[in-house]
Subunit: 479 residues, 2 copies
Amino acid sequence: MAVKRQKWSKHFGEWFRDVLINAEIMDYRYPIKGCGVWMPYGFKIRRNLLQILRDLLDSTGHNETLFPLLIPETSLAQESAHVKSFEGECFWVTHGGFEPLKVRYALRPTSETVIAPMLKLWIRSHADLPLKMYQVVNVFRHETKATRPILRMREVEPFKEAHTCHATSEEAEEQVQEAVELYKRFFDAVGVPYVVSRRPDWDKFAGALYTIAFDMLCPDGRTLQIGTVHNLGQNFAKAFDITYETKDGGQDHIWTTSYGISGRGIAAVLIVHGDDNGIVLPPKIAPTQVAVVPVPYKGQEEQINEACRTVAAKLKDAGYRVELDLREGLTPGNKFYYWELRGVPIRIEIGPRDLANGEVTVVRRDTLKKQTYKTDDVTAAVQTFAEEMTHDLKANAAAWMNEQIHRVDSLSEAKSLLAKRAGIVEVQWCGKDECGHSLEETVEARLLGFPEDTKEKVDGKCVVCGEKAVNVVRVALAY
Amino acid sequence: MAVKRQKWSKHFGEWFRDVLINAEIMDYRYPIKGCGVWMPYGFKIRRNLLQILRDLLDSTGHNETLFPLLIPETSLAQESAHVKSFEGECFWVTHGGFEPLKVRYALRPTSETVIAPMLKLWIRSHADLPLKMYQVVNVFRHETKATRPILRMREVEPFKEAHTCHATSEEAEEQVQEAVELYKRFFDAVGVPYVVSRRPDWDKFAGALYTIAFDMLCPDGRTLQIGTVHNLGQNFAKAFDITYETKDGGQDHIWTTSYGISGRGIAAVLIVHGDDNGIVLPPKIAPTQVAVVPVPYKGQEEQINEACRTVAAKLKDAGYRVELDLREGLTPGNKFYYWELRGVPIRIEIGPRDLANGEVTVVRRDTLKKQTYKTDDVTAAVQTFAEEMTHDLKANAAAWMNEQIHRVDSLSEAKSLLAKRAGIVEVQWCGKDECGHSLEETVEARLLGFPEDTKEKVDGKCVVCGEKAVNVVRVALAY
């Protein structure tokens, strides 16, 4: 099935910035660059999305916790690769009141070095392991690149970060796989398609053995990293000397992992399903699932409003989140625009003809397909529409993305596809760093890494050096 | 009814610190003073309490939002009384990466000056009012007093702060009353007794017209401020020039209020119901409402465990949050201690005699009263126990606090009661600042303010100057 790109794909950046403010999701006009305000409607979307994530984590033995924001510089500096990567982009607190601090504090850019000193207190023996925690917080990066609402913030909010501790390397590996599966289930639940790639060594999280990342494709052909999973090995455990008593009475350092999804996980849903009329929300996470709008007719205003009230009440009783839009001074067209912009999945219109026929008109947000139903059947109709829409949003998004993944055999083809922002390009690679860097430079794009979602055997040649390839590698223009 | 003070009232500070860590609520050993870690069990209690607060706010037209943490110094300085009060206790961010910032940022000590610039963008006309928002965040105060876990933190977390905007002074006044009612409902829901007082002018929130505060009484006779409601008048509106178009086409500054409850609202529940065995949780907010513990008997271990499984499953089906404690290597006594420490409202024990009689033993956490029931009746028994316990916790806490409120006519009586930490003392006052200050100095305690919860007419004399009193005033040793 061929899926048409939306018109707005050509001016995606503007579309996203405008829709965030127009649909009252985030107001980005705060006096500090890179900081935004989650507005009431955006906050409700965020709540529903985070609830899915929390349910997934809670049901798999992760405990929610909350650690402090401030990190003493001495803690941050304890893992050398980590501090080297982060110190240049931390916000630094240097004064408490009028007094300079003895040790300055970083605003957490991520919490490995916040959690480590506590793990040292908590973990004594193998009986304390595994330990699986998460928190939903704000983190801070003093970005020097151009900031963008939600996509590249200085205050990243929310940031869901999970941290786990294990007795063995194998258990840490298994945890990485569990995390990848959890994130797949999360993005699948909201219809966001992705590729999962093992990042090249030079692009892994600072302090990790390796990083596996989820990338989605934006309508402008650029990828957006929307989730990462890190195997931290014993790096942080050794830096903070976190040991446990093994079953046979010895001492060993623990093994840790961490994995995170930021506000980009919310942006992904808005971006991937959006269209020229605004955002489109999967019913499961829509703050308002059904908007009921009267189409008044002279002399029948009150009967029509009353029919709307009845239908709205009926759907609320059936458990739907419903808004009855009886606002005065707005035309039905104004109201349709209002609810479409905000991505409300289903609109119900009742006009004079509907009233006369004992019917309602049901409209799906994504297709704008209208259909009339007997008023008695409205609950069943809404259920069917919601199910179909959930399915179609996911299927269409996946079909569109799959069309933008291109397998090619030469640098020139890769370069030409990327130059016209055609999406994700897969080539074969020998795995050597110098070929990887050379690939990135030649095609002027970023190496996303080896596929983690497809385990494919290759027998071709590296597109750079022509030697035997070890794997396919993905390349894309990336946000 | 006379209510006995717990033994631990004499060493309340130690009790609280110990119970927080032993019951795995907060670990206060983080390397930065005044910052703590909400541990999994504490976080669950916190979630349940915040849910009550969110439900109350959501159902009264407050929208949840999220504003940035960082405040440019230029914003903070815009309301003069506000900055004067807060600048000496702000944490200051001065560097982004390796570069000094042009304007330094305060970590929010409260969010009036974060919200104000956005209100200026959002509010155009009377149709935009009222505007009622809240957020649940961390706020920061560089406390110079001794910090205490939850009670006096440098990172205050959580802080639920509501902010509202109105067209008239009257509507702002009404909002203050709504806020007071909301907070009463919140504390009533969790059985925390309080007094509500209008703070003296010198103790109001910086930038407010006046402040109404909720205080509870700790077992050591000190009061703890657990909630505040501020009428901000047009102070912030004028400082930030936030105006709206009135109905008749003119322009006026808006009127604002703000009100907050911090982690102390959680501490209050732990403190007021706690006893020598640990915390005691009202069933509504207990992460685990029922713990099922087998009391094994040789040869019958598996039958007893099986009976426990059946009962636990039955209660789960009935909607209770249940833990089945089949841990090995712990005696029943160890397990009783474990669940009592964590305040689990109801324990069910099944031993050999229970098994033989087709019964279970049900134990209430607060009274430790045991009663046996037929296994078939366990759900009804748990429901009755939970209802009785909810009622009794609240009634006992209120009865105890009421006994510690003393009305006296002389400074010497007031001083002597406060010296022995007898609770809250009420005296009559002329309302003049100098008498208020003199009162505080003489009795070496803090003036909580005029009662807002009882509207009493007085005809006595000021305990300080002997002139005509205008009101009763409350005095107490305060945290």
